[in-house]
């Protein structure tokens, strides 16, 4: 399987969540299916932030939603503390739900406009209770304070807040049940840059304060690098490259990773701007290319790329894994890895 394989899975760490060969398909009528995610494997260590980057349609949101079962999983396993989230059903699944919470891209539409924000934040607690079935106003106030919303605004409704404040409320709601894993799906892409920094710092603070493990999805490569310990680059339902955030950006080997890093307005120093000119369009996920899925747009592609899917392999002895037949040799100007 291409772009898959279990090489990036780690055994020596306190791994909290392991996704193995995850496959997700969506029927689109007449027997056709969208191959949204085709065999991705990765793990997240406790307390780590895993970033997922890629362009629209690469399956990054689907991966996140699959983990909390917001869509059906066709194949593979999602191991969380000895439970396979992909198989659990009914009450067993429900019991694990508080552990995995999510914040969404559009902060305003993800809050019920008719509810007061105190109700929005406390709904999870009303369902689950806080410490043996009861919860207190002080818990809500503590949450509001910790995300920087004055508790006296608890009776206001979402439209009375700005986008950045709504995202803070969304974060407070997600934290109400004391989750272990927080999935952030493009949490700052709808925010202005000055507010974006506030929310990113808040996420870092909350991560420390509540001991969270984060899954952070974004199309913005600089944002992902800033928040992540480890990053997965996805393309058309597959993982291209996985690695330590600093290492991956300093030593990008996959032509697609390099293209992304070269295409951004202020390209990374490790790539040449011309590498950002990848030709053509994203192929249809209904009928993805055989071999390496990036072969239609890759300037390094040879015959083998059209027949054999590259397997994830470790690069050197660092925390860096790659699925490519022709990895780009990197000339780095000094190893400033931190």
């Amino acid at each position: 399987m291409a772009g898959s394989g279990h090489a990036p899975l780690r055994e020596d760490l306190e791994v909290l969540l392991t996704v193995r060969d995850l496959e997700v398909e969506f029927p689109v009528g007449k027997g056709a299916v969208v191959h949204a995610v085709s065999g991705i494997s990765f793990d997240v260590a406790e307390g780590e932030t895993l970033g997922i980057v890629g362009e629209s349609g690469c399956g990054k949101s689907t991966v996140a939603k699959s983990i909390i079962r917001l869509n059906d999983i066709k194949g593979g396993a999602v191991d969380y503390q000895g439970n396979d989230l992909a198989r659990l059903e009914g009450e067993e699944l429900r019991q694990l739900r508080p552990d995995l919470q999510m914040i969404f891209q559009d902060p305003i539409s993800s809050l019920n406009p008719r509810r007061k924000i105190r109700q929005v934040i406390s709904e999870g607690l009303a369902v689950w209770g806080d410490e043996k079935g009861s919860w207190s106003q002080s818990r809500i106030e503590e949450l509001m304070l910790s995300v920087g919303i004055d508790p006296k605004f608890g009776e206001r409704r979402p439209h009375q807040f700005s986008g950045g404040q709504c995202q803070r409320i969304g974060i407070a709601r997600a934290l109400a049940l004391d989750p272990k894993v927080l999935i952030c799906d493009e949490p700052v892409s709808a925010l202005d840059v000055s507010v974006q920094a506030q929310v990113l710092n808040l996420l870092e603070d909350m991560k420390k304060r509540y001991g969270l493990t984060l899954l952070f999805i974004s199309h913005d490569l600089s944002v992902v690098k800033n928040v992540s310990d480890r990053i997965i680059v996805m393309y058309l339902g597959k993982a291209c490259e996985i690695g330590n955030a600093n290492e991956l950006y300093e030593n990008p080997r996959h032509p697609y990773t390099r293209a992304l890093l070269a295409a951004i307005p202020e390209p990374a120093p490790t790539v040449d701007v011309s590498e950002g000119d990848i030709s053509g369009e994203l192929p249809s996920p209904i009928n993805p290319p055989a071999g390496c899925r990036f072969n239609t747009r890759c300037s390094h592609a040879t015959d083998v790329c059209f027949t054999d899917e590259p397997e994830m392999q470790r690069v050197g002895d660092s925390d860096h894994y790659l699925a490519c037949h022709h990895p780009v040799a990197v000339s780095i100007n000094g190893q400033q890895a931190v």
Binding site: E55, S56, S162, G164, Q165, D192, V193, S194, V195, Q196, A197, Q198, L200, N201, E204, H219, L221, S222, V223, K225, N226, V227, S228, D229, A245, N246, Y249, A259, L260, L261, A262, A263, I264, P265, E266, A268, P269, G276, D277, I278, E281, L282, V338
Partner: protein, 357 residues
């Protein structure tokens, strides 16, 4: 200086002010915006939501709702655009001055083929017959780098990807050979690789046609790489204007300075603590008579709360609207004083972290 550059100036905007009456009061959307654009040059207008960058574009394009109260001058190639006679205006916007919008899906007609939509412009403004117009449309699609233009003219917008759709919109904007193209967040809705293609395309078209461009974006990085000059807007005002490199290396307005510091940079190691801008943008209804940025500004002094600084400096070189500019002795002094007190004149609590150089 004004004399010498007059012949080469394509667009002159003077004291442009826009007010929107609402039930809650009058929104002061634009306050005395003044700038020039040289022929063939590109100006980037950057700012956050509500800063007035899109209102500026819409005012230039005469697209504001009727309720808007506009004052000031827009002189395009020597002609006072806001006072164009009826016949003159019919073939002005969309011909000499055109615009590309953010969302290509909503700026195209979903029930009309792409070719027809481009041809429509040519038939209306340039009175081409149907056949010629369609042939020209196909040619335009080729010029904007759409593969198989012959096939695309007969396709509907939903059959194209986001990047191709935006190219169709660009083709449409170029149909009548405009001398000024206003692009309002043209790449915000697309992926980075597509963004690069589109910006490269706009650069090339601008060069080939000697066209001027106003590029409106919230992304400082985009403006830096693509514009001859950048204007930063805040709360309906231009607060700083200079060449990109000056703006990035030697910004004067504390807002620009803070904005640059708040953005995560790809060359920083992961988990670098960001320096957010405290607070939020001001209300534009009945704003107090003070520098709009003062409540969020680390440099704020008592005089910032008493009057609004005018934009000044060397026109065409580096202009800014601030009493205590960053990266100057005056600014350093103001900041040092504020840091010593732990708070600014506007009452914002500040600490030593992230002190300005």
């Amino acid at each position: 200086m004004a004399e010498a550059s007059a012949a080469n100036t394509q667009l002159l905007v003077r004291d442009l002010t826009v007010r929107f009456p609402t039930t809650r009061g009058t929104v002061q959307a634009l306050n005395g915006v003044t700038f020039d654009l040289a022929r063939g040059a590109s100006l980037g207008i950057v700012g956050e939501s509500g800063s007035g960058k899109s209102v500026t574009a819409k005012t230039l394009m005469n697209l504001l709702p009727r309720t808007a109260e506009v004052s000031g001058d827009v002189i395009f190639e020597g002609e006072d655009v806001r006072r164009l006679a009826r016949e003159g205006r019919e073939h002005f916007w969309g011909v000499k001055m055109t615009m590309v919008f953010q969302d290509p899906m909503t700026s195209l007609n979903p029930v009309k083929k792409c070719g027809e939509q481009i041809a429509e412009t040519l038939r209306y403004h340039l009175k081409r017959d149907k056949k010629t117009a369609l042939a020209e449309a196909e040619d335009l699609l080729a010029q904007v780098g759409i593969p198989e233009p012959g096939k695309r003219v007969d396709q509907y917008p939903h059959e194209l990807s986001g990047g191709l759709r935006q190219r169709v919109v660009i083709a449409m904007a170029l149909a009548c050979e405009p001398s000024l193209l206003i692009a309002d967040e043209p790449t915000t809705a697309v992926d980075v690789t597509v963004q690069k293609h589109l910006l490269d395309l706009l650069d090339k078209l601008r060069e080939d046609r000697g066209m001027s461009m106003i590029l409106i974006t919230h992304d400082l990085g985009v403006a830096r790489g693509r514009c001859d000059e950048i204007a930063v807007m805040y709360a309906g005002r231009l607060v700083e204007r200079s060449a990109p490199e000056t703006l990035f290396s030697d910004s004067r307005h504390p807002y620009t300075d803070a904005l640059l510091r708040s953005i995560p940079r790809i060359d920083q190691p992961s988990h670098t603590r960001l320096e957010p801008i405290p607070g939020r943008p001001p209300e534009l209804i009945n704003p107090p008579e003070q520098c709009a940025y003062a409540p969020r500004c680390r440099f704020a002094q008592p005089d910032c709360l008493e009057s609004i600084p005018d934009i000044s400096g060397v026109a065409g070189m580096h202009e800014f609207a601030c009493f205590h500019p960053a990266n100057t002795d005056r600014g350093r002094e103001a900041l040092a004083g504020n840091l010593a007190q732990g708070r600014t004149a506007a009452g914002l609590e500040i600490s030593g972290a992230g002190a300005s150089s």
